[in-house]
């Protein structure tokens, strides 16, 4: 067909003309700006307003950041160095670095211990956070609480070992008897653990060395960002199992169990955390046997744990409710009893749905650990508002300290929420 016109027409183009580039206004950066920044009058005005706002913010912050002084011993010395120029006195951070991180009472020559525990935390968290790591690494996670306790509090090494042995004994008893019935295995496990701890406790108090390898550090000497980390991690780990139990209780068909769970969850969710911390601080002592002295940090851990557990229970309840009814019925029709159905069918799916929600609760919980400064514990905020701002060298410095605290929390919380989004993408097994 191509030679149909060969005789009648002088020239026929038989190839397509290459596409011309779009006009300059329709390509590259200009086009992007026209579409994204100046598409309408309103948009153009918004863009200009935003640029002006950014300009003023940067003009305020950048000199403060780059003229900063990092090496003076006090605020007056810092102001002398600055000589009236705009600049931050970041030397308060370098000078009080250890206090900000570890509190002002932790023995100076022992700082390596919490630092090691912090580094090990990543090794322990990794197998839980990333599912494609070898499952055998979970042993590190299981051992971590005992190692971290030993590193941070010190004292005799026998205490964490006995605690660990109790858990091992409990697990062995549970694994041996769970085949007959879950309840038998569960209670046998608890009994075995309690027995081990009781015997072990007597042995430890009998043979504990007077001078342990690691000096014992009492709880009241913990402080700084370390305290926030300890409270956040401990309370989160303790509150997840409690929250799952509460959620199951709330879903239960037994009216009494259900009622107790509902009252507990709604009560805890209805009051602010501060009132619970007041309870830990001034009220809880009235309800304990006379003469028992309970660590304040332990009381606070209990309160934050039940606070977080109530919120996690609601998240897990959402996960349980989101499962199709067929899953429950499938468990029943297979002849599984309640514990088996929950362990093997319901909870693995429900928890998977609730993981993003639980991570959100974790971020909130970590932020809420700052509230302990209100009951005069010296966490990061407590350190800043108490010893550092009260010191004569640093009286009157705010932005550098609070900015540092905000930055530290932002890094951790933003990291967790980014992890949560990544996890959500990983877990979406594509039902859409």
């Amino acid at each position: 067909m191509s030679d149909t016109h060969a005789q009648s027409v002088a020239f026929v183009r038989d190839t397509a003309i290459p596409a011309a580039p779009p006009p300059a206004r329709q390509r590259g950066a200009i086009r992007w700006m026209r579409e994204n920044l100046f598409s309408t009058w309103v948009n153009a005005l918004l863009t200009i307003a935003a640029l002006v706002a950014i300009f003023f913010i940067l003009r305020g912050i950048l000199p403060w950041l780059f003229n900063g002084v990092w090496t003076t011993p006090s605020l007056t010395a810092c102001r002398e160095v600055l000589q009236g120029k705009v600049g931050g006195c970041f030397s308060v951070l370098t000078e009080r670095w250890n206090q900000l991180l570890f509190g002002f009472e932790y023995p100076r020559d022992q700082y390596w211990r919490p630092a090691t525990a912090f580094v090990l935390l990543f090794a322990a968290a990794a197998p839980v956070m990333f599912f494609n790591l070898p499952r055998r690494l979970l042993i590190i996670t299981a051992l971590y609480p005992f190692v971290a306790y030993y590193l941070i509090w010190g004292g005799t090494v026998l205490t964490p070992i006995v605690a660990l042995l109790g858990f091992v004994a409990g697990y062995l008893a549970y694994a041996g008897l769970v085949r007959s019935s879950f309840a038998t295995g569960f209670f046998a496990g608890i009994a075995a653990a309690a027995l081990t701890w009781w015997i072990g406790g007597m042995i430890v108090s009998a043979i504990a060395p007077a001078r342990p390898w690691l000096v014992h550090v009492p709880s009241r000497e913990l402080g700084g960002f370390m305290l926030n980390m300890i409270l956040g991690v401990t309370c989160l780990c303790l509150s997840i199992p409690l929250g799952v139990l509460l959620a199951l209780g709330r879903q239960s068909r037994m009216p009494l169990i259900k009622g107790m769970s509902v009252v507990f969850i709604e009560f805890i969710r209805g009051v602010p955390l501060i009132t619970l911390l007041f309870v830990a601080n001034v009220v809880l002592a009235y309800f304990l046997p006379p003469g028992t002295s309970f660590d304040l940090i332990l009381r606070v851990i209990i309160m934050i744990t039940i606070f977080a557990a109530a919120y996690i229970a609601e998240v897990v309840r959402g996960g349980l409710a989101a499962l199709p009814k067929g899953q429950y019925e499938a468990g029943d029709s297979l002849g599984l009893d309640y514990a088996q159905a929950m362990r093997l069918i319901i909870l693995p799916q429900a928890l998977k749905i609730s993981i993003p929600g639980i991570v959100n609760i974790a971020v909130g919980l970590f932020k809420d650990t700052t509230l302990v400064s209100v009951i005069s514990m010296f966490d990061l905020i407590g350190m800043i508002r108490g010893p550092i701002l009260a010191a004569s060298e640093w009286k009157g410095i705010y932005w550098e300290l609070f900015g540092f605290a905000a930055l530290l929390f932002f890094v951790v919380c933003y990291g967790i929420s980014q992890y949560s989004q990544w996890l959500e993408r990983q877990l979406s097994t594509g039902h859409r």
Binding site: E35, L37, L46, I257, G270, P272, L273, V283
Partner: protein, 406 residues
């Protein structure tokens, strides 16, 4: 041969209490009940013996005794000779004040940020994303302290405004920003002010009636009556007329910088702690609300917008008639729980010395009287009452917007 496992006929064995699903529930509940009673009895016995050892008792008589401390901001008459109960009421009102104002401002922040985050203007949506992330990921306590430090350090001292030739002039001649707070004019109600207020309320009712009439006309005849200008006119004209007819009964007591050499007199002092708490709570909660608003708008599928456009609706009507009613159903429940969170977070007032219920009853009264159990119990009951009230409202709302299915 049948494989049915009929319940065994005959006698009841004790072992069935654990093995038979018909009875097991009762066993477990009995165990739980006994454990609960034992736990409460144990705690109660400890409480009684501890109280006896300390020579105390549980009584609320301390509420009637003299408080003996002053508060910075009281909405009802209060002096240091007033009772602890009066102090608690001052605290309750202050909590409610900061909660209501905070919720209002948080909604404004949140809606603006949430809508702008979906804007197709790249730089604006980035800025809003930065705002949301920055405020969601830093504890609210830090924001309260930062804003409090900003108010108390960056604002000038009151002395700068004083005298015939002040270093600073008040904004619009009536507002003074000092490190102790902001001084604004106080309205003074003279005789006849009630009439102006009544006229204002009546015009609000008239606006509502007019709008209903507009909708009715639209549905019955298809005619679209104007709404914006009549509403504006109804809002302003009658009230202004009444104001002038009654001889300007509402005046303003502006802050006076001349009568006293040491401090500003007159007007209303909005304390620095209140400003810090209000602003920090609303900007923090606003970041969460922004996310709710964004999620709500995105939850309306684009097919709805396109269908409305295909029916020939204009963009504003699409928003008003199609998108918003569906988005609000998604937005409002988390919005209300954000309000609840804000109210509970307002208990952080104690960190900046704003006298809310936690700071008066749970702070100074508790420390002065030593009545820890009673004070904490009362505070908890107060917050529980608020959260129960809010969840009742939420349930009513949820039922009213629930999709009516057959």
């Amino acid at each position: 041969m049948t494989t049915m496992t009929d319940p065994e006929k005959g006698g009841f064995h004790v072992s069935q209490l654990l093995s038979d699903t018909r009875y097991r529930a009762y066993t477990f509940q009995a165990i739980a009940l006994i454990a609960l009673i034992v736990a409460f009895a144990y705690l109660g016995a400890n409480l009684v013996s501890n109280l006896r050892a300390a020579g105390l008792d549980i009584s609320f008589k301390f509420l009637g005794s003299e408080a003996g401390y002053g508060v910075e901001q009281a909405l009802i008459p209060y002096t240091s000779q007033s009772s602890n109960w009066q102090a608690a009421k001052v605290g309750i009102l202050n909590t409610l004040l900061v909660a209501v104002l905070g919720c209002a401002m948080a909604t404004v922040f949140g809606v603006i940020a949430g809508v702008l985050r979906l804007s197709n203007n790249w730089i604006v949506s980035r800025i809003m994303a930065a705002y949301v992330e920055a405020f969601r990921n830093v504890p609210v306590l830090i924001w309260i302290l930062i804003i409090y430090a900003a108010v108390t350090n960056a604002f000038p001292v009151a002395r700068d405004y004083l005298g015939e030739d002040p270093e600073r002039n008040m904004m619009f001649g009536v507002m003074a920003f000092t490190n102790r707070g902001v001084y604004v004019p106080m309205p003074v109600w003279n005789a006849g002010a009630a009439v102006v207020l009544a006229v204002f309320v009546l015009s609000l009712i008239a606006i509502a009636l007019y709008r209903r009439h507009v909708t009715k006309t639209l549905f019955s005849s298809g005619r679209i009556l104007p709404t914006f200008w009549p509403t504006l006119a109804l809002l302003i004209v009658p009230t202004v007329l009444a104001y002038f007819i009654m001889g300007r009964p509402i005046g303003f007591d502006a802050p006076d910088t001349l009568s006293n050499r040491f401090n500003i007199q007159g007007g209303v002092q909005i304390s620095a702690s209140f400003i810090a708490l209000w602003f920090a709570l609303s900007i923090y909660t606003g970041a969460f609300i922004a996310e709710n608003v964004r999620a709500g708008i995105q939850a309306v599928s684009s097919g709805q917008t396109e269908a409305a456009a295909a029916l020939g609706l204009r963009p504003r009507r699409i928003m008003k008639l199609v998108v918003l009613p569906q988005a609000l159903r998604v937005i409002i429940p988390p919005l209300i729980s954000q309000y609840l969170n804000l109210t509970k977070n307002s208990s952080l007032a104690i960190a900046v010395g704003y006298s809310d219920i936690t700071a008066t009853l749970g702070g100074i009264t508790l420390n002065k009287t030593g009545r820890a159990i009673e004070c904490v119990l009362l505070i908890m009951l107060f917050y529980l009452a608020i959260s129960l009230a809010i969840s009742v409202v939420m349930n009513i709302y949820n039922n009213s917007v629930k999709l009516k299915e057959r």
